[in-house]
């Protein structure tokens, strides 16, 4: 096999790194430059800061050859700033974080991507969308309807597959930040069968959504309701629902990531993650293990935040279908055996080119989608001071 031997990881030259960053810098300028839109002073400052932040992170990815740690800065920032911007918006529009039944009946519930798989069966059986939001714009808080969110999700997913969960999901950042806090995991032995959790939640929620004619996950199990938009607790049922949200958030997003150093909500619970894994099969970008280089030291397995590598998959030279393409295993591998790969090409031939092509797509999406979330959150904070 024509395997290119990688040189030791000397930092890439500043000039070359700059050149590689140039397309992203131009894209970022297009997205965030204040000359392109009317905005308040705090919003303009926030947008410029976000633009610079995203470009600097990409530059560092190019200079250091490393993906995971720089991506993590972006991802954690998005995870932390999403509730700030969203809660502020909800409070301005509605005066409360709780969504009352009147808003639901009026179809003004903001739509996120997680209910997408829950809507398919009811729509197929009855031609009805079982979500109390609007299909077209002007329905939700953000003014964007379900059609816009589904369209954005589909376009991104076709390109990056489950990379969505590492570059676009505005929920995963909080737990990734929590997982980064401890130096070592206190809880190391995790039964590998928990990996099937997201599929079980997906199966149960899809079936219950069809039976109950409601987005069952949003109604009963979404941990992020605790930091975005809870049920207006006007009766015992509302209080039970909110209690479940808070317990799940505390356990899956705060406590378990701190104990395990894993993204436990994403790895063991999120039904959208399981649904997204199916699309990993159609994405052109993959992470592979070059078996000619692998020792195997299982450092990749230990570093994976979602347990998407096991002994069998390493022996086969691939990740499991739940791989989120975060780059942790590639960065952790001391032998450069874990590599970025483009489907249809030979494994480990020009892996850096594969990484670049993936990162251009993923980072452009991150700027467009996550960048706006970061800018929105920052602007909310800056409004307090500027």
């Amino acid at each position: 096999m024509a395997t290119k031997v990688l040189v030791a990881r000397e930092p890439r030259s500043v000039g070359r790194s700059f050149l590689l960053t140039l397309p992203i810098a131009l894209w970022s300028a297009l997205m965030f430059a204040p000359i392109f839109r009317e905005a308040s002073r705090p919003a303009r400052i926030a947008e410029v800061m976000t633009g610079i932040f995203m470009v600097v992170l990409f530059f560092m990815m190019m200079r250091t050859w490393s993906t995971y740690r720089w991506r993590r800065w972006f991802f954690v920032a998005m995870g932390l700033l999403f509730p700030v911007g969203f809660i502020h918006q909800v409070m301005v529009m509605r005066g409360t974080m709780g969504i009352p039944i009147e808003e639901m009946i009026a179809g003004r519930t903001p739509f996120c991507f997680i209910p997408i798989p829950l809507l398919i069966l009811p729509a197929a059986f009855t031609k009805t969308v079982v979500f109390p939001g609007s299909i077209l714009p002007n329905g939700g808080m953000s003014g964007g309807g379900m059609a816009a969110m589904v369209g954005i999700w589909l376009a991104i997913t076709i390109v990056v597959g489950k990379g969505w969960c590492s570059y676009a999901c505005f929920f995963g950042g909080i737990e990734e930040g929590m997982a980064a806090v401890p130096a070592k995991a206190a809880l190391r032995k995790i039964d590998s069968r928990w990996r099937y959790g997201p599929w079980a939640v997906l199966l149960a929620m899809v079936l219950l959504s069809l039976a109950l004619f409601e987005p069952a996950y949003c109604m009963w199990l979404c941990p992020f309701k605790a930091v975005s938009e809870y049920v207006a607790a006007r009766n015992a049922i509302g209080m039970i629902q909110n209690g479940i949200f808070i317990v799940l958030f505390t356990a899956l997003v705060i406590a378990l990531p701190l104990l395990t150093k894993k993204r436990t909500q994403c790895a063991f619970f999120c039904p959208f993650g399981a649904f997204q894994s199916i699309f990993n099969k159609m994405s052109v970008f993959q992470v592979k293990i070059d078996k000619t280089r692998c020792t195997p030291c299982v450092l990749c397995q230990k570093s994976c935040p979602t347990m998407a590598l096991n002994d069998e998959s390493i022996a086969k030279g691939e990740t499991l279908m739940s791989c989120m393409k975060c780059g942790a295993c590639v960065d952790a591998c001391p032998k450069d055996a874990a590599v970025w790969h483009i489907r249809g090409t030979e494994v480990a031939v020009k892996p850096e080119r594969a990484r670049l092509m993936f990162l251009y797509a993923a980072w452009a999406m991150a700027i467009m989608f996550g960048g706006r979330i970061i800018a929105g959150g920052l602007a909310t904070i800056l409004h307090l001071f500027v």
């Binding site: 939640v201 199966l203 149960a204 079936l207 015992a236 049922i237 039970i240």
Partner: protein, 220 residues
């Protein structure tokens, strides 16, 4: 002629209500069927047991509906209690089923038998049969609609026949589920099915409990 008309009505009502029945029974049927081993023959046996006891539930319901003049005329608290009990029973059976699947796989994975629940030895019964019966007496909307018509029948035999034909109409929609026999069963599929059963059982437990609490505190 009126008899032919009535049975045509029952069949069409069953065919038209089939998707609603599948949606209502799906949370019970799909994971428990996936938890069985693969193979068209075994899965067809599962469906046969499920549908046969579902028919039994239907006929029992038809007899009661005719006797008391349709369950819809039952006082609301009694209906709530019945509804809650069925949900609680479903939760218990699903949990037991999920546990039994684990035991069946540990001890006799090659056995071409349906997963059984219940007591020891000969007292064990296929879980499919229990689940079929419990879903057969659940008060889903099409079922209540059929109950109203059955209550108007001339005698109990006619009411039961009405429900039997209604059952045939709805059962057509269940036949495709035998195709799940083609899905290859491995640790992943069985574990996912068992975990899903536990989650669904928790929901039924909650629904049953809340109905009972509401009945106690508010009287409906």
């Amino acid at each position: 002629m009126p008899a032919v008309f009535a049975f045509s009505e029952a069949l069409i009502l069953g065919l038209a209500s089939g998707p609603a029945c599948v949606a209502s029974c799906g949370p019970v049927l799909v994971p428990s069927l996936l938890a069985e081993r693969s193979g068209m023959r075994l899965n067809s046996r599962y469906l046969s047991a499920f549908l046969a006891t579902r028919l039994l539930g239907y006929l029992l319901f038809a007899a009661v509906a005719w006797e008391v003049g349709a369950l819809v005329s039952l006082p609301s608290p009694a209906r709530s209690s019945l509804f809650a009990m069925i949900h609680l029973l479903l939760a218990g059976v699903l949990l037991r089923y999920a546990w039994s699947v684990g035991r069946a796989c540990n001890h006799a994975c090659g056995s071409p038998e349906l997963v059984t629940i219940g007591g020891a030895g000969r007292h064990r019964i296929p879980g499919a049969a229990v689940l079929g019966f419990l879903t057969g007496i659940s008060l889903c909307p099409p079922f209540v609609a059929a109950g109203v018509r059955a209550a108007e029948a001339a005698n109990v035999a006619a009411a039961m026949l009405f429900f039997a034909v209604f059952f045939l109409g709805t059962s057509v929609w269940f036949v495709p589920f035998a195709g799940l026999g083609w899905v290859r069963r491995n640790e992943a599929v069985t574990t996912v099915a068992r975990m899903a059963m536990v989650l669904i059982a928790l929901y039924y437990f909650y629904a049953g409990l809340m109905t009972l609490i509401r009945r106690t505190t508010h009287g409906y």
